[in-house]
Every structure is written in C-alpha cells, then in structure tokens.
Subunit: 346 residues, 2 copies
C-alpha cells in the first residue's frame, strides 16, 4: 500500500485513478454470474473506452462487445476486436461507415427501431455476400429509444426486418434503464424481472409468427448485478458501468461503496478561513457536474472525510467545506491530496 501511495503522490492532479484489483473483481464477478446462468455477457464499452478494461471485461477474448458511438466501434475494430454491437438507433448519416464495418469485421451489428432505418439499410446492400445484422430495439417501459413493447407495430417491424433481403433480424435489444430509479436489490430485481418477462413474451410472439433463432438481450448495470433466475432464458446481457461502478450505483444498490473502482485525485490549492473553505484543483472539467450536487456531500464523496462537502465547481476549481462546524485547515495542508469518488462514472 505504501508503495502505491508514494506513486499516487507523484501524479499531477487532477487525475483519474483506477483500482485495477477492483476492476478485475467487478469484471470477473459479472463474467462468472452470467457464465453460471448460461447467458452470453456482451459488455458495454462506453464507460471506460479503453483497451485495457475491454480486455478484462471480455476475459481476453476481444469478442462480443457493445459500443455507443462509431468512434468507439472503429477504435475497437482497429485494435483487433470483433463481434461489435453498435447499440444506437441507426443514424442515417452513418450508414456508410456502418456498412464498411460490417464488411470488414466478421460480425458488426446495428440497432433499428423504425422503418425508415430499414429502408436506409436496403439502399446500401453489403458486399461480399454479407447481410446486415440487425437488432430491433424494444422499449420495455424505459422511455428512451425503441418500439414500445405493447405496440402491435413492434411485431410488424420485426417481421419486416426478418423479411427484408440482405438484412437479418439478429436479435431483440432492450435496456432496463429504469433500474436507475431503483433503491435496493428488491426494486432492481422487480424491474429486471419485468423487463425480462416483457422481452421473453415478445420472443414468444416472434416464434408464433414463424420467426426463429432470434437472440434476446437486456442490460443495465443494476439488473445485471442482481440478475433474476428468468434472465437465464435470455441469449445475452449488456451491462457496462459495473467495470468501475460509482456512488450512484452504490445508492441504487448495484454494489457496495467499496466496489467503486474509480477516484479523481485532487490537490488542495487554497485555504480560505474567512469563508471556511478549501479550494481543490478539481473542477467540472475533471469530475463533471453529474448528480447535480445532490449527495449530502455535494458532487462527490471525499474518501476518508465524510465531514467534507464538495460544494461547487467551476471549470478547474472545486470548493470544499465542512458539512458543519469549523474546518481544521491543519488537516489539509496546501499541496496535500484528496480522493474524490464521483457520483457517476459515465
């Protein structure tokens, strides 16, 4: 530990620091959880966007990942990754780049939730005898992208995708983002169960319509941290944030606070006794305004100092003050380090 601390003190701040032991533990826990359930884990890369974490999350396979942007897709493709699902409602300005990735990789998947997107795919048939691998986004009461699960159009669109030549209905994709409103394992499991059942019922409807072999996937870090047994009937899951977790996830109940693997390291750069405040060199450019300061300790948890609050930030400065009483400035010399646990790690 001392060696680590000596190294950390040499870092220029603000610095994002990652506890690799926790990262490995979080990643291995998720791999094991879904290996036991017999469900393919397709981890999401949007939180970290690094090769190092991607290697850990895929258990070294470099296969079967989800990305949220084409920049991420290209980055991973350029670095030997394959079987990449671009889980974003197909943007019409990016069809050509998606086609190139589909032709270049052995598996590149796109997401569709409307007919016009399907038309765009038809207009750009893939070369080399390839077909577009399409996942249809189903909105299981999450309220972001997707065809509402109760809408008769959902089945009809799935049918059209399935019937279109040059296009394959590879899977049904749902995000249970509504788990982010949960508090505690029980509530998380209720949403996970609901999303799983809606998705599986939709899969039954597909089969009844003669569409077979379609995969199903749901995701979100809360639901995949506390999977319900019925999730074993899904083909895949696609959580992402769990690699780091964050304060928000610990409040939701996805993890314990000690599972959070990221910190922002900051230095004390000012003592202002006249207003009972410290200034630290971490503003929203380093930490983000995520969470809106809603924690009792403001925009972050200051590790080892539950008595402190990160009250406000400007671009490169953070104001820290005690939750109550007088600040003991001697405890926090100019130049000393504070470690902040972020509310949200993306």
């Amino acid at each position: 530990m001392m060696a680590t601390v000596e190294f950390v003190e040499d870092l220029c701040t603000p610095a994002l620091i990652v506890d690799l032991d926790k990262v490995r533990r979080n990643a291995e826990g998720m791999l094991e959880r879904f290996h036991k359930l017999g469900v393919q884990l397709r981890p999401h890369m949007k939180t970290h966007k690094t090769l190092e974490c991607a290697d850990i999350m895929t258990g070294g396979s470099r296969r079967c990942i989800v990305v949220s942007t084409l920049a991420e897709a290209s980055f991973y493709a350029d670095n030997g990754y394959d079987d990449i699902l671009y889980a974003y409602p197909l943007p019409f300005d990016k069809v050509e780049r998606c086609a190139e990735l589909s032709e270049r990789l052995s598996l590149f998947h796109v997401l569709v939730d409307n007919r016009l997107a399907l038309q765009e795919l038809k207009k750009r048939p893939l070369k080399q005898g390839k077909v577009w691998k399409v996942w249809m986004k189903l909105d299981c009461d999450n309220g972001r992208a997707g065809v509402p699960h109760y809408d008769p159009d959902a089945l009809q669109l799935a049918q059209e995708i399935s019937d279109t030549s040059g296009v394959e209905l590879t899977g049904i994709y749902a995000h249970c983002g509504n788990t982010y409103a949960c508090q505690g394992e029980e509530q998380i499991k209720a949403v996970a169960q609901e999303t799983t059942m809606i998705t599986l019922q939709f899969m039954e409807k597909l089969k009844a319509s003669g569409i077979h072999g379609t995969k199903s996937s749901i995701g979100s870090t809360p639901s995949c941290s506390h999977p319900v047994p019925d999730m074993a009937m899904l083909s895949e899951v696609h959580p992402g944030n769990y690699i780091f977790y964050d304060v928000q996830q610990s409040l939701i109940g996805s993890c314990r606070l000690e599972d959070v693997a990221v910190r922002v390291l900051a230095r004390v750069i000012g003592h202002y006794p006249h207003r009972n405040q410290l200034l630290v060199d971490c503003g929203w450019a380093a930490l983000s305004h995520d969470g809106g300061g809603r924690l009792p300790t403001g925009y972050a948890i200051i590790e080892g100092h539950p008595e402190l609050k990160l009250l406000s930030m400007t671009q490169e400065h953070g104001r820290v003050e005690p939750i109550s009483g007088k600040l003991d400035f001697k405890q926090f010399p100019l130049g000393s380090l504070l470690t902040l646990m972020p509310y949200h790690a993306v």
Copy 2:
C-alpha cells in the same frame, strides 16, 4: 447560405459548429473596446483551446494570453505563443513544469495567493538569470481563489513577493466572477465598477508601501463586454468566453442571443408519438449538463423552434418534446437536423 447549409448537412452529428463571422465580430469588438480604453487585452483560452480562435483573439500577435491549465500553456508555447499567464493558484506538483516554461519563454507568468506557494518558487530559482513573474490573486468578493482584498495580509503577501529575490511581483489579478449572478447591463456595470475600484485602491496601497510598476488586471466576459470608464485605469483585462458567448451570457446581458457563435448540431434519430417525444443524437457527452436544464427550453435553445424543449439527456441521447401540445412529427423527419444553442460554452 444554401452552400453553407448543404455543407452542414454533410457533417456527422453530434458536431460542434462555430460561426466564424460571429467569432471574428466578438473578438474584434473586444479588441477595439479595450484599445479605445488604452487597456491591454489578455484573452483567456480556456473556452476554445484552439490555435484558430487564439489567433483571432490576439489579433494575430500570438502574445499576451491567459490559460487555466498547464496543458493549455504547453500547447500554446509549442505553437509559437508567448507572454502566457497561467492564471491558476500555483499547484505545488507543477512548479518544475512552470519553471521550465518560465525559462523557455520570454514571458511566463504564475499566480500566487499564499505564502507557501512563494516558498515553492524560492526553492526552484530560475536559470539564465530569469526571475519568476508572479501575479498575486486578489479576491474582490468573488469567493474563489485569492487573498480577500480587505485582509491586511493581502498587502503583506504582496510586499513579501516583491521583496523575494528571484521573484518579481508583476501584477495583481482579480476575477469578477460574481458578474455571473447579474441580470442586465446595469448590474454588470455595478460589479465591474466595484471590482475595478477595489483593485485600484489596492494598487494605491501598494504604491504607498513603495511598490511601483505593478500591473493590475480584472476579468470576466460580462464586465469586459460592458466596461465602465474607470477600467481605463487598469493595465489589463482577461475575459475569455466572449469569443463564443452562450445562452447564459445572453441571459446575464453580456451579449445578444444573436451574438452566440456556437451550436451543437444534432440529428433526429427517433420518433416516439406514444410519449410525444423526439430523440436526438446529442447527449451530455456532446452538450454537457451545464445549466442543469434550468432554461424554459431545458438544457439548450433549439434554434428556430422556441416551442421545443430539450428535456433530458443520457450519455449519447437527448429527449426533445414540445413545451405544450402535440408534437408535429412531420416537421422533424428522422435524419433531419436541429441546432442547439448551449447554455454554457465553457
């Protein structure tokens, strides 16, 4: 105009777009304003961090700028810029890098608001017969960094800086960030006047103590957009955001909405009539959560559509709905563009 629109439509979204005519007009207006007052403009780079805007803001001189990080300082130094003020309370982990920049450039300035920082400078005398160029930060009731102007220690610290060999008290630096709480030109001018008077009174105290030739600088885009006549007695000013302005600045009264030079270009990627919403491909990764959604139109103004609200964002998605009534989806076809005016352009 049509040519421009055709080009814009070819951009992959989300894209930050900058209106160069407005940038030039904003930059020239500021240069002219302070040329007339006989005050040196030292523009801040933290908003744009580009060479293109820096060239425009310095009128091509590539001299006399302010930065908020050493990354910015090195970037500009590497690209032929000089006379760079690193306007950040000297972080003790960065003294060596500051020393190198001081030795390499003809003018590199640091900021100090405490005695320990001065000790750190003394421990690292500059080579080549150079002296540290130090600005002392004065807090003129802004409440971020700086020695409070009413504190007898302010004069004493200035004296110590001035008396330290190898160190020069180059200037007194104040930020009137409290102009950001203003509404309208009158309130802005009142704060500008107050900050100017406090700074000038402090300069008088310095002279009375036998310290001559020290510069003075105040800044903030609101105050420098509406300077008061007494600002002519300052040596310098250091605004930054004015190069772009933003919705926040227009609400403060620094500029008109039509002066705002930046937009985030987004595409419609989803129609969700069941919840009366559009989805656009601009989340907080592109726009930031700045402003906290406090505008009547949410997190941004959607240009040409005062009836729309950017209600919420996730990392890569934005939810748009009408402020009232039913959305006419035909007006916003899938794939069509919306231009968002950000609340804050950093």
